[in-house]
Amino acid sequence: MKISKFNNLLGLPGVVFLTIFFLTPSLFIFSYIFGTRTPTGKTSFDKIYFDSFQQILDFNVLPIIIKSFNTAVIVTILCLLFGYPFAYQIRKFSNKYKYFSLFLISIPFLTNFLARTYAWKILVSKNGLLTKLLSIFTDTESLLFTDFAVILGMVYVYLPFMILPIFSSLENIEDSLLESARDLYANPFKTFYYVTFKLSLPGVIAGIVLTFIPSLGAYIIPQILGGSKAMYLGNFTVLQYIQASNWPLGSLVSLIILIFMAIAINILFKFEGQKNL
């Protein structure tokens, strides 16, 4: 059939490009896992090594994985906590304010995140506003280079990633649904839980994935705000590639991140499926 051949051809260049320049590189990463680092930092493949696996145990990488995971979870929860009500509030606005709010929240979504992280760095350094504010309550002199700063920095950068998908799915809920719930004598809590929240779940899941994954693999933010004392998966990986020249180990950690990510995507698709039911 002429049409389907043509359609297949349409997709071909793109698929070929991705196969060569995305799929293949990811396979290479996997192969590096089985090499080993020579004393001068090259990678040797003369036989199959399992050094990288051993090193994960030797180097105590487990605490780093746990720390990154915990941080990502905290960041995601915080984003959800503040992001969901925000999206909910926007939805309640009339059109004019709705689009204005959307505009306001999209700007940080798409503006340079280096610049925003840097703005945050100013706030948390010794003479920064946030530090000064907090020093009223506690005894902190500077927030820079603390885990707290890193977490807040990530929330700062990823919050819009949580808000936008949630808003998107909330928007899809027709008011008539809510009205019918109320007509059926459901109280506000029940309405919210059974109608609004459940229907917004796809957006929530998307938001969680879009916040959790980048947090897990974050490099720039911990580097700028954490001062390389803070070891997260992201800067650990970069360290292995650039500084330690230990590409097998770096690749293994990259694989671990990829696995987390694959699990997250699968969960995303499972929920997407449920939505259609």
């Binding site: 004393p39 001068t40 090259k42 820079l144 650039i242």
Partner: protein, 368 residues
């Protein structure tokens, strides 16, 4: 017909362009250039005015990329996919680069100014026949302290300021350490009375454990912004390289009556690191003529003196020394006496043991 001609043309061009760098070096003449210069250097290590002057004099562009550790430079060079023309690594790293065949043998016919170099800095251990390197600067690694912020007139000259909790608390020290395994473990080893080139794993472990205990007092591991952090008050002391501190002091000179009574650069009595940096040309460099011309340009006595006064490190250029401000030459922190120098060690390439240092440092760094 046209298509195959084109392909042939491309093939010919490709074949021609992959001529070896050695052959290219033989084709250069003194002061010739064959393309723009890709310079891979430590940050703030070369006077920008000199770079501009080179660009104007020879009509080429100089692209600068920066690294903050020798290991980073080595990784980039090893991948073989970066076309740097000049790199400025430190002593022990040069040995490794030579071993891996990553450096080009220099054509000294193109470097008449090489006679300006201090003979004490040629034919050193990392390049015994001196065929790959042109010495650049040398210096020390020590501990800079903001006496003004601590409210004292002086502090004891010891690494105990870093590693001894009692001393730290006494002065209220908040500091950063260099993000460098050999430097940090080296300081710890010296404090413990060992050589900073030891291959004894037990000693290295002891040093790493000491660093682990110090973690709570370390604000950050940083090799590129410690001067700014001192200025902003985030820290009141820092582990760093000599010249970086002097650049800092010069900058603060207009703010303080006598900068030298408010800030001090210590080379602790237990000893520490002395290092030499040299300029090298990677074996896959493309603008080999330009690179040689650049090396020659930087070795000119006046230019080297200008550079030395700008970055406040100790020059390895004897002819330049005669032209440097005597006050700077007399400053023992920049040009330490032979006595002090005798107490310092070069970082040596330890082959397999290098990895041990990296790994132990990493462990110590990430423990909390």
């Amino acid at each position: 017909m046209k298509k195959s001609l084109l392909i042939l043309l491309v093939l010919i061009m490709v074949a021609c362009s992959t001529g070896s760098s050695e052959e290219a070096a033989a084709d250069c003449t003194v002061g010739s250039v064959n393309g723009d210069l890709n310079l891979y250097n430590w940050a703030e290590y070369i006077d920008p005015d000199l770079v501009s002057e080179f660009e104007e004099t020879y009509g080429v562009s100089v692209y600068e990329d920066f690294y903050t550790s020798n290991e980073e430079a080595r990784t980039k060079l090893q991948t073989g996919v970066n076309a740097y023309d000049i790199v400025v690594p430190s002593d022990y790293m040069i040995s490794q680069l030579i071993e891996d065949g990553l450096l080009l043998e220099l054509n000294f016919d193109l470097l008449p100014n090489f006679s300006n170099i201090d003979p004490d800095y040629t034919y050193l251990g990392y390049d015994p026949e001196n065929i790959y390197t042109v010495p650049y600067f040398w210096g020390t690694t020590g501990f800079g302290v903001n006496l003004d912020a601590l409210g004292v007139e002086e502090v004891p000259n010891t690494w105990g300021l870093v590693f001894d909790k009692a001393l730290r608390d006494q002065y209220g020290l908040k500091f950063t350490l260099l993000d460098d395994s050999r430097e940090v473990l080296g300081a710890a080893l010296k404090y413990l009375g060992y050589s900073l080139n030891t291959t004894d794993e037990a000693q290295i472990q002891e040093a790493a454990d000491l660093v682990k205990e110090t973690q709570e007092a370390i604000v950050a591991y940083d090799s590129d912004q410690f001067e700014d952090l001192i200025i902003s008050g985030e820290i009141n002391a820092a582990h760093g390289w000599s010249g970086d501190f002097f650049a800092l002091f010069y900058e603060l000179e207009d703010q303080y009556e006598d900068v030298y009574s408010s800030f001090v650069y210590l080379i602790p009595e237990e000893g520490g690191v002395r290092w030499t940096d040299a300029m090298v040309i990677p074996s896959n460099a493309s603008s080999v003529c330009t690179a040689h011309t650049f090396l020659n340009f930087m070795m000119d006595a006046e230019k080297a003196a200008q550079n030395a006064e700008w970055n406040a490190y100790a020059t390895a250029n004897l002819a330049a020394k005669a032209l440097i401000d005597p006050e700077m030459l007399a400053d023992e922190s920049i040009y330490p006496t032979a006595e002090v120098v005798a107490n310092l060690e070069f970082i040596a390439d330890l082959g397999d043991v290098n990895e041990v240092y990296e790994n132990k440092f990493f462990e110590a760094k990430s423990s909390s």
